[in-house]
């Protein structure tokens, strides 16, 4: 059992070890004064963790993502269901959303600052903007791809519109909604770091810029990057846990 697991993760551990070795060697050989060795990154991260600033920055970033993503989900899921179900709503909104969707959230930064200043609201707005469209699109296409045989069966049993929606449409779309949430939270995490680099005084994005500006502390820059990656991984696996729920398992088996 344990041997099997080791065998499975061994190749990726090997790659990781090789990267660290090459990195270390390169820093030592080039005698770089600024670029840190892996060990300096570890001690830098430890320093931040001990004095508590790391947790404050992580907390600030997660709070912004939580609020922005939460608001986006609350709007996108009902709107996506409505657009999927009512053809008129789809024709009305879809062209606008399709045009807004390819605009990088970064392009909204000047407008965010203009409207919401340089406080917490700006990044929350940017996260909202970045995650709302993928969730709308995914939910809508989920409704459009419900297999007709299920709708026919529901019509055959003569269920009311509300039962049709609660017992057939929503459960049929739920797996797509979860996919939309995975995409949404992924984009949100990308955007929060970028947004925090601009004007804020907290968050992991700010930590990166601040570490560079305050005396080229590249050990902290790289430590922050690694932490951002790890938290992104955790967020994604957290959303993936939803795929294990019994009423959506059918979509992911086989």
């Amino acid at each position: 059992m344990i041997v099997d697991r080791l065998k499975r993760i061994a190749p990726s551990l090997l790659v990781l070890a090789a990267i660290i070795a090459v990195w270390w060697l390169a820093v030592v050989l080039t005698e770089s004064a600024i670029f840190p060795t892996p060990w300096q990154v570890v001690t830098g991260a430890w320093e931040l963790a001990r004095d508590g600033t790391l947790w404050e920055h992580i907390g600030a970033s997660l709070l912004r993502v939580g609020v922005g993503f939460g608001m986006a989900a609350v709007l996108a899921i009902p709107l996506g269901l409505w657009m999927g179900w009512v053809a008129g709503a789809y024709r009305m909104f879809n062209p606008i959303f399709q045009m807004l969707r390819p605009i990088s959230p970064i392009a909204w930064i000047p407008i965010a600052i203009l409207w919401f200043g340089v406080g917490d609201l700006s990044p929350i707005f940017l996260i909202f903007i970045s995650s709302v469209f993928p969730m709308i699109v995914q939910t809508t296409s989920g409704v459009h791809t419900i297999e007709r045989r299920y709708l026919r069966a529901a019509a055959n049993f003569g269920v009311s519109r509300s039962v049709l929606f609660r017992r057939v449409v929503i459960p049929a779309v739920l797996p797509e909604i979860i996919v939309g949430m995975r995409i949404g939270i992924g984009v949100a995490w990308l955007v929060v770091v970028a947004a925090e680099m601009i004007a804020l005084r907290s968050g992991l994005g700010y930590l990166i810029m601040d570490s560079r500006n305050a005396g080229n502390r590249y050990d902290l820059v790289i430590a922050s990057m690694i932490i951002i990656g790890l938290i992104g991984l955790l967020l994604d696996s957290g959303t993936r846990l939803l795929e294990r729920l019994k009423p959506v398992r059918w979509r992911y088996v086989r």
Binding site: Y150, R152, A153, N156, F157, G158, V159, W250
Partner: protein, 247 residues
């Protein structure tokens, strides 16, 4: 068999694509008695499924009328449940929830108990809490049958119901269906391309012509049950039907 469960008269249907109009059903009339088991056999692509969709209320004919239980067919309803080849058991509901799906309103009493009763009848006892993806193809078919029987429909419309199953399971489900029909008398309209399936189960067999479909021949199946397909009478009937189909 005096009352007529289904009366179809003079149905025509064409599909229009662009400027071309493709006639699919050309003047089909027949009736099905109350409690009768009628099979319609025909070559694939002859318009069998379209005919069933019209009779069950999912599509409208261009001409002619369909009367079900004495009234004009106005759309799908729980009085006639369709069981098709593809299956439509909801994968997000458990077996029991699927069986309770059609039980709307308060006139059904203890819905869970009723669902469990029919689960037991089709041999799904112990699987009430299972999800469809945990079941085999044959068991899924049983869920679909039970879900139909729970709402006590007057008519079962079966469109190649067992053709997606393997050969052995197909044979087993025929017997299961007949056994349940013995307990709960329903009118059945079966559409199939399998002549032996029709002979094994039906009281009467209608043969459809190639498109546009018309009723080409009709056979009473006057064989004692349980039927033996190897009997001389069954074989003679099979030959006669295949001959109508041009084989």
């Amino acid at each position: 068999m005096s009352a007529k469960a289904i009366v179809v008269s003079g149905i025509r249907k064409s599909f229009v694509s662009g400027k071309a109009s493709l006639p699919v059903i050309d003047d089909v009339s027949f009736s099905v008695g109350d409690g009768e088991f009628v099979a319609i056999v025909g070559p694939s692509g002859c318009g069998k499924s379209t005919l069933m969709n019209i009779v069950a209320g999912f599509e409208r004919s261009d001409q002619g009328s369909v009367r079900v239980g004495g009234v004009a067919q106005s759309g799908p309803s729980p009085k006639g449940i369709v069981i098709s080849q593809y299956g439509s058991v909801f994968p997000w509901l458990t077996v029991q929830q699927n069986l309770m799906f059609g039980l709307n309103g308060d006139q059904h009493g203890d819905k869970a108990a009723l669902a469990d009763h029919y689960a037991a009848i089709v041999g799904l006892k112990g699987f009430e809490a299972s999800y469809p993806h945990e079941l085999s193809g044959g068991m899924l078919k049983r869920v679909e049958l039970a879900r139909a029987f729970v709402v006590k429909p007057d008519i079962l419309y079966m469109d190649e119901p067992f053709s997606a199953l393997d050969a052995l399971m197909n044979l087993r489900m025929r017997n299961e269906l007949l056994r349940i029909l013995d307990e709960e008398r329903h009118t059945v309209l079966l559409i199939t391309h399998d002549v032996e399936e029709a002979i094994y189960m039906a009281d009467r067999i209608m043969v459809l012509s190639p498109r546009p479909a018309t009723i080409q021949a009709s056979f009473e199946v006057d064989l004692p049950r349980p039927r033996k397909l190897s009997s001389a009478l069954a074989q003679a009937l099979r030959e006669a039907i295949l001959k109508e189909l041009g084989l």
